[in-house]
Assembly symmetry: D2
Homo-oligomer: 329 residues x 4
């Protein structure tokens, strides 16, 4: 497809496009008026004074690509900026289990230096007999913990019909690995307009992850953070294989920031620190860490959640690392 970056509203271009049989879409992204049009053959000879830049790409994505936007995108969640100098850490329990558990963790991770509170209210579980989360009640608990600590909240949405509850209680919406190519949900989150943390599917390439982001950007929502969380391979000493190389290669393909989730691929907490540090050394803009006040009694992912003490130590190590990389944490 072809992307036109415009210097006005492009009304004259719109007229010209409407006289072809091409598909097109006008949108505003990162403060720029843009027009997408395809197939190329219908539109490549169009000239219009509103056109500032033309990007004709062979890639299967363009808005999320860095051919038209060279500067790294910074995504703001409340006052937290992801994609800037600071390595942003989101931490909290795998699942919200109770007000007390959530508030305890929130206070602890805040104290240790986390910038965002993560917690699952709607849990996607491979088995229908596993704990499915507290639902909207869980979102309210997160909201309360957020108000107490000042940490914005990131939580996963499973069903577009819950959008109003997420709009109300959550600051950043997570799309999980299993929904990474749920195009219905991607479009809806594009329309919702909230910052999105988009996880890579277990069986998806980095390029497909960026294409999924394209669905969100196409709706005019450019606040997307991509998340590497491990892929399925034959190796079984870890739960998933954290594809740090894929993240590094991805950063050359897109202007969007990257988060790394070391907790899920680790599968056991002894490995989380090393994977977190490796991710930061490789250039991750954000970390997503599972922390539970008492991991051994957690209702899900018991093996991989850090204690608050261990998380606090990790934050120290991340800060040390970030400092020699010219960043902060």
């Amino acid at each position: 497809m072809i992307l036109f970056v415009l210097n006005g509203d492009g009304s004259t271009l719109k007229e010209k496009l409407s006289s072809t049989s091409a598909s097109y879409k006008f949108l505003n992204l990162y403060g720029k008026n843009l027009a997408l049009a395809w197939p190329d053959s219908e539109v490549e000879n169009i000239r219009d004074p509103s056109i500032e830049i033309v990007v004709k790409t062979k890639r299967s994505y363009v808005l999320a690509g860095n051919e038209w936007k060279k500067d790294p995108t910074k995504v703001n969640v409340g006052k937290v900026e992801i994609g800037g100098k600071k390595v942003v850490v989101a931490a909290g329990p795998c699942a919200v289990e109770s007000e007390e558990q959530t508030e305890t963790v929130a206070r602890e991770v805040k104290k240790a230096g986390a910038s965002l509170l993560r917690g699952g209210a709607y849990k996607p579980r491979t088995s229908p007999y596993s704990f499915q989360g507290l639902g909207e009640e869980g979102l309210k608990i997160l909201k309360k913990a957020s108000e107490q600590t000042g940490l914005p909240v990131v939580s996963e949405i499973l069903d577009a019909r819950d959008r109003d509850a997420f709009a109300r209680y959550v600051d950043m919406v997570q799309i999980g690995a299993r929904n990474s190519q749920n195009f219905t949900l991607l479009r809806e989150m594009g329309k919702l307009g909230k910052p999105v943390l988009l996880k890579r599917g277990l069986g998806n390439t980095v390029e497909e992850l960026i294409q999924s982001a394209e669905y969100i950007l196409m709706e005019g929502n450019g606040n997307v953070v991509l998340c590497e969380r491990g892929i399925r391979t034959f190796e079984k000493s870890t739960r998933f294989t954290l594809d740090i190389g894929g993240m590094v290669a991805g950063k050359l393909m897109t202007h969007l920031p990257f988060c790394a989730d070391p907790s899920h691929p680790a599968g056991k907490r002894e490995l989380v620190h090393s994977l977190a540090l490796a991710s930061v050394a490789a250039g991750a803009d954000m970390l997503l860490i599972e922390v539970h006040p008492k991991p051994e009694v957690a209702l899900s992912d018991s093996e991989q959640q850090l204690t608050p003490e261990s998380f606090s130590l990790l934050m120290e190590r991340v800060r040390g690392l970030a400092s020699v990389l010219g960043r902060s944490a």
Copy 2:
């Protein structure tokens, strides 16, 4: 969890369960009243005259498993029975493009011996700029072709909000690879009650596929056909790796019938016949084959769709094979 197979409506059991703190669910499946309850420790000592059989399993699924139901399940789609002696073939275009294209293919595949008409109206596309399908219009075209040929229709649903259109126009609802762990959609299709063709996700194990089916069965809908369609591996001479071994292993784990889709893993039509025959030889109950009147101008999956002539030859070969395996086609 524990599964109780009941000889009545289990009202006395329900009372006993309600006096514990266990979670439980009563449902009717394959003509049997069942009760599921968990965690085990709360319910394993319950005795009740309504309990015919108790199944306590270590697996992460039970309704879809063959510990309580030894006989293979037969799924009926209109007059077509999947899981019986006959190898059922569903054929048709990757995407419904027009009335003429669809009706032409429908007639051709009917003549060649197909039992079901497949065709995509809502297309899940990795790139938002690829052809997204005709939507409800496509379903209507399929319905019309179905009425002309008598072939029931199978088509993929992407969004639970389209359930009414699928209820009206479609005989079997397909859940595609990308939605294989979209638990919202699985539950909704369980409630819809139509037969479901459930595809395995690119990065999912066979066990996870069966667990996804469990979500549908839990809603009282037992008419589920599992579909092997290739997984992601390092091998690149095919588009995906058709996991015939996984299908064979899966058949030992579940009573549900298995479909194989040789078109998607092949990626090119020269490979489709061999993969289809291999699938039947390995025990597939159903085949899903992409056929297009003019594959070279198809709007999607152009490389892998068979011509009607090639499909007709394939049906002959499948029939020959089925006959020596004690089956028909």
Copy 3:
């Protein structure tokens, strides 16, 4: 590189090549005099009356490819022809354990219709503490069983220094999955001149398998059968993932025949029949099946070896299948 198919001994061509700085190699393969030369730029303008055909390929292999040799290669092992109409079955124990065990199996598999006796004398074991095989003693036992039954023997070589023993006792030399890219061993087996059964490595593509065969062919030994035996993937319900699609794709790339080994990917004997039948349906020229008189006491691969009774039934099923495919078994 460039391949010249010659109509004489090419002495004049050799002179011309020697006057360039190109690398070249003359050899005789399948009764044809051939010359290989590279890099292309040095030789593409050479003209010589001895040149019958010139093949300039972009592939990374040429001798094993079907650009110069369209007809399928038939590999003869004693009187057994692999790659012709008959599906050739090699059967026998994973490991030779004793004379009695081997001779019992040899008689049984012969009776059931096998054409070759397989058995491991030198066992490549992941752990140094597993049974390593009887070594040369094992080869002698195989030879004796071969003389009793008339079945030629196929057995795996691990170390090029054992070549004399293999020359003496074995009819077809197997290069196992772990040595699939042991280029030293490949070259030596090329020089030995015996038929080779070359297995695909666990982490190798089909193209790499064909490139490994190229090393053998380059030494003038064209009697190579390629063997698909399963690759490493994330799926764990089978031991390896039998890549039937890769085999089918491979058959379009090479003139060499393909064997399938359903025993190793199965990992458990319940799956072996289905995988064997699927392989034959997909076009395998040969099957390699593990059979043990008492699998439950086998010193290796106990779980996946068939009993003689089960093997006999499998042969019946293979014959039935082969007949409808226009082949025999």
Copy 4:
């Protein structure tokens, strides 16, 4: 199997073992006299005053495991210690092409802070038509460059018959990914006694890598460094997937040090720095980096070799990182 750590030469134990039907092996490793014996049932009741510690393991390796040896092993190559506080960097060209090229690189990497010179003389190439290396001539060139710079040399062996040349010219012998389960070569390198850099096979698990090391240790050679160099997965934006999680998990299973090779998985030089830094942050004891004076004209792996300037910058970054991790480089 059972491992006995002895406080003498174990002659009385040897007598007792010889009176059973068990297999056993005495060896000296890391200054300790050890006896291995299996199967367990034959030996578990043996008592002897020479036995200091008994390790009965369920793992498939024991010498390379950390059940009997808790302290991390330090491998000495000349004066260079691998596994200690310093992150050791081996650098040099993929292939030795000429004296000048090798000596130039050797001087440059020495100046930048490398501790070892790497370079391939015998090259394992997937295609027989690719550059196969200079052979023994290449080893001599490396030796000369080593004498000029004082950097010990690490180079890959393909064929056990070249052992004398390696004994003469090389300080550390590399076993490459394709030979990771070439048990013949592993045993021979165990006997040679030189330090070994053992790479993980493309399709091998971390546990299998450690089992391969066990073959070397069993011959009394404990100087083994394990090397993570990327595995085969479906992701194609990198050449291989560097499995940093596998390395971290491996460090919990063995006392042997780990090297990471970021060059091969990267496939392109833009990714090498990030993968190298990630490896160090995750705990790698050694890095193996390809450096070429003019990568664009390299005879192999042209895309992934660093220039000397880029390598020098990488060393600075590695030193910075090492310092905050309490290490040096």
